[in-house]
C-alpha cells in the first residue's frame, strides 16, 4: 500500500523540492550580485504564470509529443532512483538503465526543438548534445569504477554497501578521484554556468527555449526542476552514501546545490569546444586514475 502512495505523491514531493532548490539558486545568485533577489517561491510563480498563458503556439504534432516525452522520460527516471523509503523500482533497473533513461528527456527535447524549425534552437541542441558527450564520458567512467568497486550495478546494493561503514564508506571517501571527477561532471550535467552552453541567452536567444512559449516553457521548467533533483540524488546515492532518512537527504541536497551554485555564480560561459576539451581533460584524467586504482 505504501508503495502506491509513494508512486502517486513522490513526483509532487520531488517537484516541490526542485522548485525550492531553483528558487534558492536564483536568490543565491542575486545575493552574490549584491541584489535583493526574488522570493524563494519565484520559480513556482513563473511556472504557474507560464502554465496559465491564454494562447500557446506549437509547430506541429511532434512538438507536442516531444514535450510529453520530455516530461514523461524525467518522471520515468525519477521512479528508478532510490530515495529514502522508496526504492521499489530499483529492483527492476540498475544504474546502467538509469544512465540510459537520462537520455530520453534530452532526445525528446531535441526532437521538439528541431520541430520548431528555429536555427537558434538547433544550434542550442547541437551544443547541448556536444556538452552531453563532454560530461557523460567521465561521468560514466566514474559509474563503472564504482560498479566494479562494489561488484554490482544495482543502486540499492551500492547504497547499502556505502552505508555499512558509516561516513568513511562513502564513495567520495573510498575513492576521492572518482568522487571529484563525478562532481565536475555533475556540474556539467546540471548545465551550470561555466558549462551552460545550451541556454546561452546572449548568443543564441535561450537556445532550445527560443520557440517555447506558454505551457511548453512551463513544462520545460517543471522538467528542469525534477532534473535537478534527479541529478543531485544520483550523485548522493553513488558518492555520498545515499540517504538513510529524509533529513540527511535534504541536507545533502542543499549542501551539494550550494556548492554548485557558488561555482555557477562566479564563472562566465565556456565556448562549446573549450568546455568539452576541459571535460575530457580534468575529470576524465581523474576518473581514469580512480579506475586504475580500483582494477590494479
Amino acid at each position: 500500500m505504501s508503495t502506491v502512495l509513494w508512486i502517486i505523491f513522490y513526483p509532487i514531493i520531488a517537484f516541490a523540492i526542485g522548485v525550492i532548490l531553483l528558487g534558492y539558486g536564483r536568490k543565491f545568485n542575486a545575493r552574490v550580485q549584491r541584489r535583493y533577489g526574488p522570493p524563494i517561491q519565484q520559480v513556482f510563480y513563473d511556472i504557474l504564470k507560464l502554465m496559465s498563458k491564454r494562447t500557446n503556439i506549437s509547430h506541429g504534432w511532434m512538438h507536442d509529443t516531444a514535450l510529453v516525452m520530455l516530461l514523461g522520460g524525467t518522471l520515468l527516471t525519477l521512479y528508478f532512483i532510490p530515495v529514502p523509503g522508496f526504492d521499489f523500482f530499483s529492483g527492476y533497473g540498475d544504474f546502467l538503465v538509469v544512465m540510459y533513461i537520462l537520455l530520453i528527456p534530452s532526445l525528446g527535447m531535441a526532437l521538439g526543438v528541431g520541430e520548431t524549425a528555429n536555427p537558434n534552437g538547433s544550434i542550442g541542441i547541437s551544443r547541448a548534445l556536444q556538452m552531453l558527450a563532454g560530461y557523460d564520458i567521465p561521468f560514466a567512467l566514474t559509474f563503472i569504477g564504482m560498479a566494479i568497486l562494489a561488484g554490482t550495478t544495482n543502486f540499492s546494493e551500492i547504497i547499502a554497501l556505502q552505508q555499512a561503514e558509516g561516513i568513511f564508506g562513502w564513495g567520495l571517501m573510498t575513492n576521492p578521484f572518482l568522487g571529484v571527477a563525478a562532481l565536475i561532471a555533475l556540474h556539467g550535467m546540471m548545465g551550470e554556468k561555466p558549462f551552460e552552453v545550451m541556454v546561452a541567452p546572449h548568443e543564441i536567444a535561450t537556445g532550445p527555449m527560443t520557440e517555447m512559449g506558454g505551457k511548453y516553457l512551463g513544462m520545460m521548467m517543471i522538467q528542469h526542476a525534477l532534473n535537478v533533483v534527479i541529478e543531485l540524488t544520483i550523485y548522493i546515492n553513488l558518492f555520498l552514501g545515499g540517504a538513510a532518512n529524509w533529513a540527511s537527504y535534504l541536507v545533502k541536497l542543499f549542501v551539494l546545490m550550494t556548492l554548485i551554485l557558488s561555482v555557477n555564480a562566479l564563472f562566465g560561459r565556456f565556448r562549446v569546444d573549450d568546455a568539452v576539451r576541459f571535460m575530457w581533460k580534468v575529470p576524465l584524467v581523474l576518473a581514469v586514475i580512480g579506475v586504475l586504482i580500483i582494477i590494479l
Binding site: K53, V68, G72, V97, I104, E115, Q130, T153, D273
Partner: protein
Amino acid sequence: MLTEPVALMLLLSVAGVVLNIILYRLQSLQMIVSFLVFAAMLALNLQLYGTIGETLVLPVVVFGQAMSFAVSPLAFYFTLMITSITLLTVIFSLESLRGKACTQAYYLWLFLKTFGMLGVVFAADLLTFFLLWELMTWGTFFLMQQTGGESFSPAKKYVVYAVSSSMLLFLGIALIHAWTGSFSFREVAAAFPHMPEGMMLLVVLLMTVGFAVESAMFPLHAWLPESYASTFTSLTSYLSGISTRMGIYGLILLLFGFVGHELADRFQLIGVINLRYIVSIFGALTIIIPTFTALFQHDAKRLVTWHGIGQGGYMILGIFSANALGIAGGIFHIFNYMTYVTLILFSIAAVEYRTGTSNLNKLGGLIKRQPVAFLGLLFGIIGLAGIPPMNGFVSKWFIYKALITEGYPFLAISAIIGTLGTILSVYKLIHNIFLGQLQPEYNEIKEVPFLMQLPIWVLMLAVFATGVFPGPILSLIAEIQSSFGLAPVPYTMTGVDPAAGTLDMLVITTVFIGGLLLAWIVFLLGHKRRHVSQYQNYAAGHFLDESIPYNFNYNFYTGFEHIFNPMKKKVIARTEVAVSSLVEAAGDYLRRIYTGNLATYAMYIMAALVVTSLFLKELI
C-alpha cells in the same frame, strides 16, 4: 532427403538465380517471381526449427569430401534473419525500383547472394563453407555495383579486400585440412586442441583476420562505407543489415566451434592480455573511430554505413567477453542491429524516393510531408542509440553488464563513448532530414506508396516488440550457447533473471507509458494550443518567407569540428594508396625485365644454364 527444409531452401535460391537469368529483360515478372520465392523460403525457414540437428549430404564429392549441410541453432538464428530481411528488401524494392535504370540483374545477384549466405550458414564442413563463402563475397561485389558509374571504384576496392580475406581463409582451411585430414566440423573441432602451438596460432590468426575483413573490424573497415552507400538504398540496407554479419558468424564459428574458450585464454602474452583481449581492443576501436567519423558525414547513407561498422564493434566485444551475458548480448545485438539499421535505411530510401537526394545539407522539414518515414527513422535511431524501450538497449545492457562484471572498465567506457557518438550523429541524421524548415521545392511531395511503408511498419513493430519482450529471441540464443557447450544466458520473458542482474523491460516500459500519461495530463492543464506555419518564427524581428533559407544543417557539430579536425589524418586511406602504388611500382619495375633487346635475352638463357648446373652440382 530432398523434402527437408534445408535442401528446399537451397534449391529455391538456386531456382531463383536460374529464373532470373531466364527473365532477364522482363522486370515486372522478375519482381513477382522473386517475391514469391523469397516468401516461400521464409515459410520454409519457420518449419526449420523442428529439424535442428539433422544433416544433409550432397552426392557432389570435391577433393574427397562430400558437401554436407547441417541445421544448428546458430544456423536457424542466422537463416531467420537472412530470409526475413531479404523478403523485406524485395517487398521494399518492388515499389522503389519500378522503372529505375540498370536493375535487370538486381534480383539475380540478390538470389546468388542469399544462396551463398544460406550455404555458408548451413555448411557442416569447411569445404562447403569456403566454396559458398567465395560465392557470397562475389555476390556482394555484384550487388554493390548495381548503379554503375561512381559505384565501380569502391566495388573494386571491396574485391581486393574480399579476395585477400578469402585467400587468408583458404590458407587457414588448407592448414587445418593438412593437420586433421578432413574438412567436417566435428573432426576438426576434435583434432583442433592437439594441433601444435605455432600452427594453431597461425591458423587462428589467419582465420580471424579473414573474418575481420568481412565483418569490417577496425583497421580493415575502409571498404565498407563507400561501397555500401553508392548502390541502391534498399540494397544498402540489405547489405549493412546482414552481409557484414557473416564475418561475425565466422568469428562465432571459429571461437566457439573450433577454438573454444579455454584455448583462447591459452595464448597468454602479458598478464591479462591474451588473444581474446586483443581482439576486444580492436572491437573497442571499431566502436569509437567509425562512430566519430560518422559524425561528420554529409550524406545520410554514408553516415549510417559508418555506424554499421561501429555497431559491429559491440558484437565483437560481446562475443569475445568470456561471460554468458556478454556472449548472449553480442549475438542478440546482431538481430537487433539488423532490425533497426534496415528500418533507418528504408526510411532514408523513402525520403530519397520522393526527394531524389539523401544529402543532409539539402533536406529539412520533411516531417510535414512524410510522417511515416519520420516515425520509422525515429524508432530506428532510438534503437541504434540503444535507448529503452527499444531492443538496441537490451543487448547493449547485456554487453555492459558483462564487461563490468568481468572487470574491463576501459572496454566498457569505449562502448559508452560509442553510444554517445551514436546519439550525436543519429540526432543530426533525423534533424537534417525531417526537422527544421521545409524547403519550398519539397512542398508537394507525398508519402511513399504502401508497399514501401509495409516493411517500415513491420520493422518498427519488431524493434519495439523485441525491446519489451526479448524473451523469445533470448531463448533461441540460450539454445545456441548450449549447442556450443557454453553456459546459457539466465533470461526471463522480459529481461534478465533477477539473480544475474536487474533488468525488466516490461516494468521500464509501463512506467515510461505511465510517465507519458502524467505528462500528457500536465500538457492538457494549459490552455488550447494552435499549430502555426513555419514562417511564424523568432528571427529577431526579421520577416521570414520562402526565399529565406532558415535552417541550421551544414557543419552541425562545429564544436567537435574544432576538436577533431587536427585528429583527422585519414591514416587508413593513405595506407591503401601506398599499397596500390607499391603494386604499381612493382609492376613497372618487373615489366622492365623484358627489355626487348635480344642480347639480354640470350644472356638470360646462358645465366639460367650456369645457375642450374651449379645448383645441381654441389647438391649431388
